[in-house]
């Protein structure tokens, strides 16, 4: 498995790391910066991570996925720092002999990452900014 916190997402590297002669299906999910959120125009995002703990949590999730599905490859990259509209901020990649496993594991990994990995997103709008999810 290849787990990293990076300044720039590298989709080609992720695809290379998923390559395996035994894999027939490769899934990539890329989370990108959307121009709107909560009905507001977004100007940019800033991501911050508690890096050692984020890597540990990502590894836990990855191990869970490997136990649940027969995976050939697994990649999780999350970016930190300032990101503009359209830029990738996270890539989740899975590969397996048959596509059922890679699809299911890819979905599981991004869902779990969003729930437990200590990474924080600050959304900047025209007039203010907020830490996403911080308040009810």
């Amino acid at each position: 498995m290849h787990i990293s916190i990076v300044d720039q997402i590298d989709l080609n590297e992720a695809y290379q790391q998923l390559q395996s002669d035994s894999a027939g299906g490769v899934n990539l999910f890329v989370g990108t910066v959307r121009d709107h959120a909560q009905g507001k125009q977004v100007t940019k995002l800033v991501f911050e991570a508690y890096v050692p703990m984020a890597l540990k949590q990502m590894e836990k999730i990855a191990l869970q996925a490997q136990q649940q599905w027969p995976l050939e490859g697994l990649v999780m990259q999350h970016a930190v720092g300032e990101k503009q509209i359209g830029e990738p901020v996270v890539v989740i990649g899975t590969s397996s002999a048959h596509r059922d496993a890679s699809f299911a594991a890819c979905r599981f990994l991004i869902d779990e990452l969003k729930k437990t990995v200590p990474i924080w997103k600050k959304e900047y709008y025209q007039d203010n900014s907020v830490w996403v999810n911080a308040h009810p």
Partner: protein
């Protein structure tokens, strides 16, 4: 005791790290949360506030040995 701060907790406290005075030193995660609630009432308005000890989520009963790396984990929003 030093507490690492991230995201909105850093803004609420107004520093990158928080020092708990020796005389207030909490013995457990639960005690630390009580102390924080008193010192920084704005922390109670968050959707949730977890504490990590040595890079792992910790429950209220968990002790805080000296030398442990302690961090506040406000609601995460990665991805």
């Amino acid at each position: 005791m030093e507490i690492l701060l991230f995201g909105i907790t850093r803004e609420i406290v107004g520093q990158n790290q928080l020092t708990v005075p020796t005389q207030d030193r909490p013995e457990t995660v639960g005690k630390l949360k009580e102390w924080l609630a008193q010192q920084y009432p704005a922390l109670q308005k968050l959707s949730s506030l977890a504490v990590a000890v040595d890079s792992e989520y910790a429950d209220d009963a968990q002790p805080l040995p000296s030398g442990a790396e302690v961090a506040l984990i406000p609601p995460v929003s990665g991805g």
